[in-house]
């Protein structure tokens, strides 16, 4: 359509701008979390995260040295020399000597105060304060400085969350727990479902159509229904709460989608190839391992991503089947929910913890997006 004659270019521009706005709107929340995870607690509570991206204006109050001790004779009066910055210097934009006008002077200018008292503040923070005997007495003169502070980020939060933090703040254990749940819960259903999908796609037996319909039905059964009966079952047969229960539950809950996706894909493979393998003397088992599995790689990858994202991001199954009273098998989603309850205001901890937990799925997402999309297209029941 791009080549159609007489097409208005203003419309194209409107489209470009709307898409850009939409993308920004969608990206904004995640970026906020990401940026916040690199800020200190003080920075987070001082300003919104969007302010952290630009150098910010910061106002601070300093006091000159105690005139009684540091003043020296200077002509008719006295003078105090010194610098307002004890440690790190700031990039002074403007300054003032009264809280009513804190940005009255540029660096290098001289402030005229009552009775001929003067103060000169230079860009490097050094000052000269001149005045009479009674003017340079008592406490030091207050200096209000408006400085430009460059964006500042820190990795401290990640160090806390991943290594040094104690108790709830340390996610390292939960991270490994999550991995421990996720990887077997992703691989095992693939193996089981692949065999079942092959049988449903390419083997003749009575009741096949009925089984496929049943699996489509199970695809939408909410797993909420399974919670009590299965928890009772697990407790009854002695599995209790723990990894095995979680693996079994994830395996079974992922099964309808796995069988459905893989069956649809396998049924679409060319019949001739499978028949040719039969003529070549392959048994069903050999056809499955040598022909079907290599050719179904895209579908296997699609489901693997789904199951990985689902198990990694899961909260409900972990809470019901995995995490016992000791909490030693907690997963990241659960720990974050707990953090939300107990450390709701500590955004540096929360943001970092949340970002650690979403970093892995995001990585998987961007690397394997192609397969995810393919799986989505195949998986939505038509």
């Amino acid at each position: 359509m791009a080549g159609v004659a007489g097409k208005k270019s203003s419309l194209t521009w409107a489209v470009q701008i709307s898409v850009a706005l939409l993308v920004l709107l969608w990206l904004f929340p995640t970026v906020g979390l990401f940026v916040s995870s690199f800020r200190t607690a003080d920075q987070i509570s001082a300003s919104g995260w969007w302010a952290a991206l630009f150098s910010s204006e910061q106002s601070e109050v300093f006091r000159t040295l105690d005139p009684d001790e540091h003043r020296v004779l200077d002509g008719n009066g006295f003078r105090v020399d010194g610098t307002i910055f004890a440690d790190t210097p700031l990039n002074i934009q403007a300054w003032g000597v009264s809280s009513r006008d804190i940005a009255a002077y540029q660096p290098g200018e001289t402030a005229e105060m009552k009775g001929g008292e003067t103060l000169t503040l230079r860009r490097d923070g050094s000052y000269t304060w001149r005045g009479s005997d009674e003017q340079l007495a008592g406490r030091g003169q207050r200096v209000f400085v408006t400085a430009q502070v460059p964006p500042e980020f820190t990795l401290d939060n990640y160090a806390t969350i991943l290594f040094s933090g104690s108790g709830q703040d340390n996610m390292a254990k939960a991270f490994f727990n999550t991995l421990t749940v996720t990887i077997p819960a992703t691989i095992i259903p693939i193996v089981i479902a692949a065999f079942a999908a092959y049988a449903l796609a390419w083997m003749e037996f009575p009741g096949r159509a009925l089984l496929i319909a049943a699996i489509v039905g199970l695809l939408v059964v909410p797993l909420q229904l399974a919670l009590i009966p299965l928890l009772r079952l697990h407790l009854g047969i002695g599995i209790g709460k723990g990894y095995i229960g979680a693996w079994l539950a994830h395996t079974a809950f992922g099964m309808p989608l796995a069988v459905y996706l893989l069956r649809n894909y396998m049924a679409g493979l060319p019949r001739d190839i499978i028949e040719n393998a039969k003529v070549d003397g392959a048994t069903d088992f050999q056809i499955f391992t040598r022909i079907i599995i290599p050719l179904s790689f895209p579908a296997l990858a699609s489901f693997a991503i789904f199951q990985f994202l689902w198990t990694w991001n899961d909260l409900l199954v972990a809470k019901v089947f995995l995490i016992d009273a000791t909490g030693s098998t907690t997963v990241m989603t659960n720990q974050i929910v707990e953090l939300l309850g107990t450390r709701g205001g500590n955004w540096e901890i929360l943001a970092t913890a949340a970002f650690v937990s979403i970093a892995v799925p995001l990585g998987v997402f961007f690397v394997m997006q192609r397969y995810l999309v393919r799986g989505l297209l195949a998986g939505s029941v038509k």
């Binding site: 001739d272 190839i273 028949e275 039969k278 003529v279 070549d280």
Partner: protein
Amino acid sequence: MTSLSLKGVSKAYGSMEVLRDIDLDIEQGELVVFVGPSGCGKSTLLRMIAGLEKITGGTLDIDNVVVNDLPPAQRGIAMVFQSYALYPHMTVYDNMAFSLKLAGKSRQEIDTAVRSAADMLQLSQYLDRLPKALSGGQRQRVAIGRAIVRDPKVFLFDEPLSNLDAALRVATRIEIAQLKESMPDSTMIYVTHDQVEAMTLATRIVVLHGGGIEQVGAPLELYERPANTFVAQFIGSPAMNLIEAKVTETGPRTSVIMADGGHATLPIPTRAEDQGNAVKLGVRPEDLSLVEGDDFLVSADVEIIEALGETTVLYFKPKSDAPALIAKLPGIHQIQRGTHLKLIAAPEKLHLFDENGVSFLYRS
């Protein structure tokens, strides 16, 4: 020696019968072509021989062993599929070696077999390629090579040329013919809907229609002596003209007249009781020629003229609801639309069928 024999073979899906009572013996070294319109059951028959479809009635012998219940791999057959069915994730070499590996042959044996088949088909330099890196013709050759490697008793071809473009189809057809010549002892069964392939490749053609065999015979036998109107019209292009006629004289030679006054006497014997019966006179378009005067076979008005240079095809206006008459004349003819023409054919080129469509030549 009989290589393969079908005795009363039939196939039914539930109550729907797609093949019934097929009897056929195939000798070693024959190339038998199954031909017929789509839906005639020719592919099903081939797949039953391969073991890809269950045989629901009758027996199938290969080398005098009943193989009805044997899986495909144990029947001693190899099959070339319409879509080639190459394993897309294996190289040409692995494609050809796959069946031998499954059979547990030694590495040495496999290598020898694959390389000799590849040489024969000029595939040696492509052995490391994946199928997607090959042209259509090369893929076709790999599919054939995969069959050769297994050294089967019977080769089965399921419309192997229908995925190729016209030029390649001719070239590959010739290659298959040469392949057959180089392996005179191997038996081949070839399914096609293309009568040119059937005529050029076959030692014998089996014409299938509506789940049964219409006629079995050498290609030219089918052309010259079709057993019934179906075979008569299926073999040859354009199809044979069938003209309603009435028998006026019986005996070793038969005379018939047509409604428009055309008449013919042909060297086909009829019996006395056929006198006066309605019959169908068959004449191929290419056997008709123009004639003047009263001694003609048929006469009609020209409706459409197709001048092809090499030949001129004339379509005549049909009389009432009869099918249009077609004539194919050699060379170029200056004929106007609507001209009334008279046509004649040599008596020995004429065919005669009874009202059931059965040729008088084959009447028992």
